[in-house]
Structure formats: C-alpha cells, structure tokens
Amino acid sequence: MNTTPPPVGAALPHESAHLHVTGEAAYTDDLPEPAGTLHAAPGLSSVAHGRIVSLDLSAVRAAPGVRAVIVAADIPGDNNCGAAVHDDPILADGEVSFHGQPLFAVAADTRDQARHAARLAQVEIEAWPALLTVEDALAADSHVLPPVDISRGDVAAALASAPHRLAGTLHLGGQEHFYLEGQVSLAIPREDDSLHLVSSTQHPTEIQHIVAHALGWRMHQVSCECRRMGGGFGGKESQAAQWACIAAVLARRTGKPVKMRLDRDDDMRATGKRHDFRIEYEAGFDAAGRIIGLKLLLASRCGFSADLSGPINDRAVFHADNAYYLDTVAIRSLRCRTHTVSNTAFRGFGGPQGMFAIESVIDDITRHLQLDPLAVRRANFYDAPPRNTTPYGMTVEDNVIAPLVSQLALDAGYAPRRAAIAAFNAASPVIKRGIALTPVKFGISFTATFFNQAGALVHVYKDGTVQVSHGGTEMGQGLHTKIRQIVAGEFGLPVADVRLSATDTRQVPNTSATAASSGTDLNGKAAQAACRTICQRLAAFVAGRLGSDAGQVGFADGQVRAPGFNRPFAQVVADAYRARVQLWDAGFYATPKIHFDPTTLRGRPFYYFAYGAAVSEVAIDTLTGEHRVLRVDILHDAGRPINPAIDIGQIEGGFMQGLGWLTCEELVFGADGRLLTHAPSTYKIPAVSNLPPVFNVRLFDNANREDAIHRSKAVGEPPLMLALSVFFALRDAVAAALEPGARPQLDAPATPEAILRALNGGTLT
C-alpha cells in the first residue's frame, strides 16, 4: 500500500507542544516524588589515572541528612554499565581511569544535603601517568578495541601512478551533547524484590538489563519507563545507565525511592561526548581532482572504555566516502584508549567525522589545483556502474546526489555568488568571504543488524479511542507525533483520538535504543503492523455481518465503510467488543534486505541512504579570526515526509548542532586531564545569534525507493552533517586571504583562534 492516509503527511504540531509551552510537560524530575524519596549525588575523581589508596567516607556518612553511601564493593551484582564490552565500572574499583569518574555515591534526604556531603570525602589516589590525547595513545599503542581496516585495490600502486599527490593531517574536536535536561533517574523499590525506574533514557531496555545485572537480579524484576527526555542526541543511549544503576543500588540498600539527578557540571565532567579525531591522509588524483587512490587513517579518542566506540568508529569508516566513489582506497580506523571520559554516541555516530575527513581531502585537492570545489566534488560523486559501490561492498542503488546538488546550486545561486564573493574579496582587505556547497549521503540502519527490530502495542478501547505503546523513546525528535499520525491514518481517525503512552519495558520488551535515526522507520512499521491486524479483524467482523468481502471494508474520516455500510469507527468498535473481537494487538518489524559480515567488513549494512546538501556563505575578520555565517541554503531528502514540519525542524536543528560542533563548541582539557569547559559558561553551544540571517530549508521531493514507512526517510542525524558547508566556507574565506594554491590549516572547531592561526599559516607564534 503506497498511498498515505491522512493525517500522514500533515504538518501537525508536536504531540506535546501544548504541554511544552505551558510547562505542563512532565520530565523525570518534574514527576511528584513518592513519599520518602531520597536524593543522590556522586563523588567524582579529581585524578585522571591512578590507584585509590584510601577512600575515607566517614565525614560523608556523618553529614546531615545522609542515609546511605555506596562504593564499588556495595554493588550487589555486576559493577558494570558498559553496553557492549564489560569494561565500564559503575563506581571506580581500585583504579581510577579519568578525572570526573564516580568513586562513590551518597543518598540523603535532600539534594542539597547529598551534594554537600559528597564533597566531604577524604580521597587519596596515587597518580599514575595519564594518556590524555589521541597522540598520547598512539605513541603508547593504547587502544580500547582492535584496529579495523577496509580496503579495495592496490592503494600504493594507485598513489604512485597518480599525476598529483597530497598528504595532510587534520584535527577535529569532540562535542558535548548539552541536552537541556541533564541525566536523571528515579528508582522506586517495589514488592517481592523488584524495582521500577523512571529514567531519561534513549534505551529503557538496556537500563532494565544493566540495572538487573548490577542488582544481581533478572530482567523481570526491573522495569523502566520514559515518557519524554529533555533532549538526548545520543548522550542518553548508553550513558543514562550509570545513573540509573546508582539510584537503583541506593534504592535497594535503603528500601526507599532514590532520585539521581546530576548537576550540570558533574554531568559534563562524568559523561562521554562525541569522539574527537586525528585524521591523516595520502591522496592521489588527476587534473580534474578525481581521486585515484586514497589512504586514510582515522584515529579517535575513545576514552577509558569501549562504550559504543566500536560501532561509532565503524560508522566513521562507512562514511569516509560520503557521496564520493573511492575506487582504490585503504581506510584504517584506530580506537584509542585514553584516561578521559568514555566517548559515546552523538547524533551522526561517527558519520560526521568520516565525512569531515573526505571533505577535507577534497577541499585540499581543490586548493592545490585551484579549481572550483563544487566541480571537484561533482567529479567524484557516486555515479553509474562501476562507480556505484562503496568501499565496504554495498551498491548505492538510490543515488540522487547529482540532481539534488544541481537543484540546490541553482536555487542558491552558487555560481554567481561565488563570482561575486571573489570580486568582494579582491576589494576587501580585512573582511573576507567564503562559500561552500557540501553534500551528505548517510546510511540508515543500525550497523549491528540485530538491532533493526521493533515492537508496538496498540489498544483500541471500546469507545473507539486508541492508545499506542512502542519501543521508541521521545527526546524531542517528534517520534510520538509521527507514530500518532501513522496509527491515526491506519484507523482513519483524527489524531485527537490517538494517544501515546510512556515508553515502558512492561508494555513492549527487548527494544533497541532510539538511535541511528531509526525510531520512526522501525517503530512506525511495528505500530502499523499492529493496527493492520486490528483493522483486519474489524473488517472481517463488518464483512461477516454484511455477508461481503473484508477487502472492501475501509477506514477513513472516522468512519468504517463498505458497500452499503457507513458507520462511525467508535460504533463499529463498540459492536465488535460485544461480539468478542480482540481490539488490541502487538506488531513487530524487522528491517529487510540488510546484512553485514563484521569479519570481512562487507555487506549491506544500510537499508537505504538519506541525501542532502547545503550551501553556506560566511565572512571572517582577518584581524581577529571572528566570523559570521551570512546565508545558508539546504535541500534535504527526507523521502516522502510523514510530518514535513517536524522534518524541517530536524533539519534546522541538526544543522545548527553541527554548526556548533564545527565552530564555537570547544572541549578543553587541562594538563591534569580535568575538563575545563564543564558548564555553559565556558562551553558555548550555538545561541540565537548563530542562526544564519538568511536560512532557506527545503525538502527534496524523493519518495524512498525502499518500502520504509510510507516511503519516508529517516531524518534525525543526516542534517547535522550539512553544517560541514559552514566549515568549508570558512576554509574558503581563509584561502581567500592566503596565497593561491595554499591549503588552509584550519582545525575544527573553527574558533577565532583557529581561524587566526590558519590565516597565519598554521601557527600564532
């Protein structure tokens, strides 16, 4: 069925918008606390690496209001919150692995008391040498996971034969999620050795699983729910678990509900971020800039444990082609272990870093050859066979990058504006402008194939209203709004008749994280499947009464219709109930076609690709390195949108988050491994003045060729990478101030200092 029943496709408001604006939308910390709720605070390490010599908590225990203090030994089960590898202690045990690592936790009557008490600990740590940077780890050969290599063809030979060759090293910074709602979990002890958690998490099932292990319990003793998060962005995919575990252990110990809500500074110090990368390349290319051979090294700072670094770095490798065909290529991925917080998922999940690498290579090639960067990008685009297979062996079947880019370049006036900018720069000694168009091709699916499954539970109540539960979590991305539209569309009901419940492991089990942009693709299909089962039963019921064919029964406009039959849905439902027809059901979905062999690194990890492109114009002040973004035009492929307004919101917001990553957001660590930018006073995410004054965002008309839910495409992550256009426009502006042919040595983020350094040829001294 390829038609989209209304309200699918409608630009309806977010299902909670009316609650957001009045303050009624309840986040975890807003829920009424059960009587006797205690409040927890962690005690964090002030040493990056070392051995705990003594942990004297007597003053903590004696502090006013304190009810319990726990250390690693007090965890009844498994002292681990690592999602993939068993290397992530909930509380440090003997050894400290990063500055900010939780050593102990305290529960007190009030949050103030807990925070005060936590500072009274007498901690002695024997400090050991700490590896803080990628370079430190490379020198020490320190890795959390083995290297991964993907190659095709003889790169050495290709490089040797290429008419032009370049080599370079790039530095790309990390990024703090800065979800506005910090990490928070409320653990409520229940009868018969069980416990319920309310958590701000993208992955309730994993919270359930890890908390059960930490308590030495089995999964049916723990449940977890999440109605909404105040932002997640990947930061609550694996790293909400630690705080849920601490709350749960304290709750079990005291027999009281325990809320663990991190202070912002503690949150920023103790939770992981986007991986920063060191990138090295060697490229061979022809006179048109077409890449003949490419050798790429992607080395990332994973921090002290594996967390999700394996799949994140895999995805960086899978996106080191971006929209370009790399004929002969060798990519090596190093997952560096450092004594810093364990880096984690962040919107794009390694993809942005991979794309940054190849876009930098392309940009260097264009500077070297003094060509229009867009012409070089086009020369390298994926194309007809044989230029349509990725380095990991997947055929790009749905390629639309060339027509999409052509349409955007025309709409945005790329060519005339590029000429006008050159003329401006020739006459402007201080202010220099730059422009860049960059493409995005982003693979959709979890690369671990088994995660690509989802369930939903749909209840039709006997008055004809509907409640839906599914495995996905709402973090602001509009998942529940889209599911509501999908479900309303299946039953032919207005959205007002459909409500979404909190995501709850008691309703839908064994769910995957809401991540990888997959929430609507997976859960939408699962919810649709459940609805269709119920509709089939209702159709059979109606057809049975009419003595007609169930295939002729339709659901639209709040009515159930068949030849000679037209009744309100609610009435049909009421009749069906009395006839003992089952009015609820579960649905399940597993993404078809995908497969991937992690040993050979070949296969089809992605169901399809989402595409997009952006043109950005910037201006820099060559005296100070300050910059402004002047205009951005975006054309993005969201397939056939389920809700175009929500998709536009994801594109604009994702772009701005990417802009922050590449320009103003800078994570600075001290020589002792301490995060110096641990609060919004020092860590600057985009504010309103970072919004481009001209910002045109349009959707590319392109129904998904795969049978994704209503032919839509995932839109959560891909737009973040559109912000690469800002970074390369800045590079273009810097290049305008340098000698022709010079490659700007611009590190990301492009802070004023980084830009001034690039203007000075890579140094300020």
Binding site: H20, T22, D30, A420, V430, E626, Q657, L691, E753
Partner: protein
C-alpha cells in the same frame, strides 16, 4: 528593621515565606516547595535560560517587568516584588486557551524536546508585555540571547513573536499587581533570619551605610549573578547578607554638570542604556555583555566590585576615565577605576566600605571611543579579550590616549607604554603600526580554556589596527553584512 516573612506577589496574591534559608533560590522554591515544575533547571548558573521567570517592580507609577534567571535569585531578593512564571500565562488568555505567545510557539513548531521552552516563553513574554508594537526581529533575538535551545536552531522561536502579535492581545492585570506592590512597600525593612543566616535589605543609603559599618563581614548581594554561583556550584556557606535591591539612591542614574552618575545597584540594563546615551561607542558592549536576564538582575556596581579580570564593563569604563564613589559610614571618597583594582579579584575597598556610584566625566571634544569584545560566541560569552580605546584626536594628532584591556592580566588594566607611544604622534598608519608592535608585548596574558596567550597578544594589537582602519573608512565590521547575490 524588623523580623518578618519574605513577601512577594505570586499567583494573584501576596505570598509570605518563612522558614527557608535565605540562600534558597527562587528556582528551588518554585520546584521543590511549590511543586511548580514548569520552570526548569538546565545549568543552575544563569547561562541556559531554562529557569527564566519574570519579575515585576514598580518604577515610578509603572509596573516594570523583566526576565531574570530564577536559579541565581535568592528568595529574599523577591521581597516586595511580583513573580511570574510560565504557569501564569495561559490563565491570562482565559479558560482552555493558551497565551498568544504559547499558541504561536505551538503553531510554528517551535518546541522539540520542550525543556527549554518555558524559559523562552518567559523571555518572550517580558518583551511582549513591554512593547506597544510588534518587536523587531533584532529585539526578539536580543530578548532570547540568554536562552539556549539545543533542538530547534531558534528560527521558529523568533518567528513566534510576530505570529503572536497577529493574535488578540492579552496582558497582565497591572492595576492589581501595582496595588499589591504598594501594599508591600508599606512593610518595614526586611530583616530575615534563619538559623545562622540573615538577609537584611536596607531601605535607604543611610540605613545601608550604617548596616555596612555594623556588619563589615556581611556579603553584599545586589543581583546575585555571581554570588548565586557560590551557592549553586561551589556550595559555599554564606551567613550574613546585606541586600542592595531596596535602596532607591543606589539605583539612581543622573547627570551632574555633564558628569554621568550611575548608582551602584542600577541594573546593567539601566546602566548600559545611560552609558549608550552618554557615549554611543558603548553600544557594542551593551549588546554583548551577558544577556537580558543577567543584565536585568546584575548591577554595574556588582560587576565592578566583583573585580574579575574578564568583567566586560571595566575596560570601557577605565578608558572613559571613570571613577568610583566609595562610601564608608558618612565618609565618601573617589577613586579612579583603574586604581580600584589592586590584584586578582582584589579591590581598594576597606572593611565597611561599599561602592555608592560610578562617575563618568564629560567627554573631551574629538574623542574616539570603541570597546570591542572578542569571544567564541556572539551572545552571552565571557571575553577572551575585551579592548577599549579612547583617543582624543586634534589636528591629526593623538592628544590623549586611554587604552584598557580585560582578559590580558590579573586585573582590568591600561596599556601605559602604548599610550605613551601614541601621545602627541600623528594619527597615521606608521604610528599605529609602531604602537601595535609595542601593544603586542605590553601584556603577559595566560593560556587558558578560552585562548592562548599568543592569540590574546596578537588580537590586542589587531584591535588597535581595527580602530585605525575603521577610522580610515576601511570596512572592518562583520555586523550587518548581507550575503552576496
């Protein structure tokens, strides 16, 4: 003075609060005591705006409404004022309705996760209430420059203001609020004591001067935009506090024979309006100093007394030859602002003394004044370098030069060697070039999280170049640039 409850107008009535610590914040009060959870904690340091509320005060006969960060307001600071939170808005529009701003935000898809939304609603609400006509896009952007949103990218939030303006207007019932404020104004001076803590809010300059002499160890609290952090972040105990918010003389701003006199507890918003009027070159720093909720709460005297090496008001004021008027009991003395700073976060204030006012002498003829802030972000960031230049030019020569920097030393500081080099010289490229070379070496700034010392030195010199180029008609500003067509 008398011991009494903290009194403020809230939810349509005068609310009296007793038994809570005077360092309890308004945000904690709302969320934990009132279970009014619409106001959110995002950072507890005044940098994200999720906790924005609106405070009402009587100014003349009018009700002044201003957005502030509830996370940095101590409860006693509410005394005698009116408090409005996100929960107060929908009722203004009638049963079952949303406030026009709320409706416009819903219709325009301006919330995603929704956690920052109540703060934006309140910042927009303050602007909505305070303007007779639909605010300009620039003024909307300035109003929300202290609110962070991590989801939307801001565009739909800005668009909500004109959309709200197209809906029927609703507003606060001001008469009732003013009546409540009048009723509370008749209460005696607040002397609030809980356990070992007290918060005393004198009602006159004389009362304050006497209290300060009697309590030289007490912490002066004006806007609490810094002291608030001692409580929320450093968990420092604060015992005795003298609140400056109820002393009318300290808020006064006037001209005295051409000298601009700004009372120490005038809000930064009010002080900067007067400063821009006095010296238009102040406009750049006025826009970029923090954001409205901080400028509404924070005071000029607080910024000066806090003595941060990166406070943004000092370089410009030093360049403008400002002096502080210090009071101890009945004694008054004047100190040039540049001499007020004696070391890192150290001032010339004696025990029992406080800043009464800041004085700016009339501008000499031909003065060229610029004050520029370099930071990683345009809105609400701390300066990497803040440079201020006041040059008096006559007959193509530099008659007087006052150059001051923040972020370059342990205190806000002048650049005397560079100034001496410029003095009497022809105002031309060679002079500037020579001066830049000296200026780049005159300070020994630190490497820190914001920038390297090398960057700071280079930029300090380049700002002098910017001054010269701009005066020579070369375009040097990134502001107001239009994209190419």
């Amino acid at each position: 003075m008398s011991e009494r409850a903290i009194s403020f107008h809230f939810r349509g009535a005068i609310r009296q609060v007793e038994g809570l610590s005077p360092t309890r914040t308004v945000l904690q009060y709302l969320r934990e005591e009132c279970h009014a959870t619409g106001t959110k904690e995002g950072c507890a340091e005044g940098d994200c705006g999720a906790c924005t509320v609106v405070i009402g005060e009587k100014r003349g006969a009018r009700l002044q409404l201003r957005a502030v960060n509830a996370c940095l307001q101590f409860l006693p600071m509410l005394d005698g004022k009116a408090l409005f939170t996100v929960e107060d808005l929908a009722p203004l529009a009638g049963t079952g309705q949303l406030h026009p701003l709320q409706q416009a935000l819903v219709d325009g898809h301006a919330s995603q996760c929704g956690f920052c939304t109540p703060g934006f609603v309140m910042s927009l609400f303050a602007l909505y209430e305070n303007t007779p006509d639909c605010p300009t896009r620039d003024s909307v952007m300035e109003a929300i420059s202290g609110n962070l949103c991590r989801c939307t990218g801001y565009r739909p939030i800005i668009d909500a203001m004109p959309a709200a303006w197209a809906l029927p207007r609703v507003g606060i019932e001001r008469t009732a609020v003013l009546a409540a404020l009048d009723e509370m104004a008749a209460l005696p001076t607040l002397e609030y004591r809980i356990g070992e803590q007290c918060f005393i809010a004198p009602r006159s300059l004389a009362e304050l001067a006497a209290a300060r002499l009697a309590m030289p160890e007490a912490r002066l609290v004006a806007g609490a935009t810094d002291v608030g952090l001692w409580v929320t972040k450093q968990l420092r105990p604060i015992r005795d506090m003298l609140g400056l918010g109820a002393v009318p003389e300290l808020k006064a701003i006037h001209r005295d024979a051409g000298t601009l006199v700004i009372g120490a507890s005038a809000s930064l918003t009010d002080a900067f309006a007067a400063l821009v009027d006095f010296e238009p070159g102040w406009a750049d720093i006025a826009r970029r100093f923090a954001a409205p909720p901080i400028r509404n709460a924070g005071t000029l005297g607080g910024n000066l007394a806090n003595a941060s090496p990166i406070g943004d008001s000092m370089p410009g004021l030093i360049a403008l030859d400002a002096r502080v008027l210090l009071r101890r009991g009945e004694r008054l003395r004047r100190v040039p602002l540049e001499d007020f700073y004696t070391g890192y976060q150290q001032t010339a204030l004696e025990p029992g003394e406080f800043i009464q006012a800041l004085e700016l002498p009339p501008a000499p003829a031909g003065r060229l004044f610029r004050c520029w802030k370099i930071a990683r972000r345009f809105d609400q960031d701390i300066s990497t370098v803040c440079g201020a230049f006041a040059l008096t030019l006559a007959d193509g020569h530099v008659g007087d030069a006052r150059i001051a920097f923040g972020g370059m030393a342990a205190t806000p500081r002048r650049a005397p060697i560079t100034e001496a080099l410029l003095l009497g010289q022809p105002w031309k490229a060679d002079t500037v070039s020579d001066a830049m070379a000296v200026l780049a070496e005159e300070f020994t700034p630190l490497d820190d999280l914001r920038a390297s010392a090398a960057y700071r030195r280079q930029v300090a010199a380049k700002l002098l170049q910017r001054l010269w180029l701009e005066a020579s008609g070369v375009p040097v500003s990134l502001c107001g640039l239009e994209p190419q067509t």
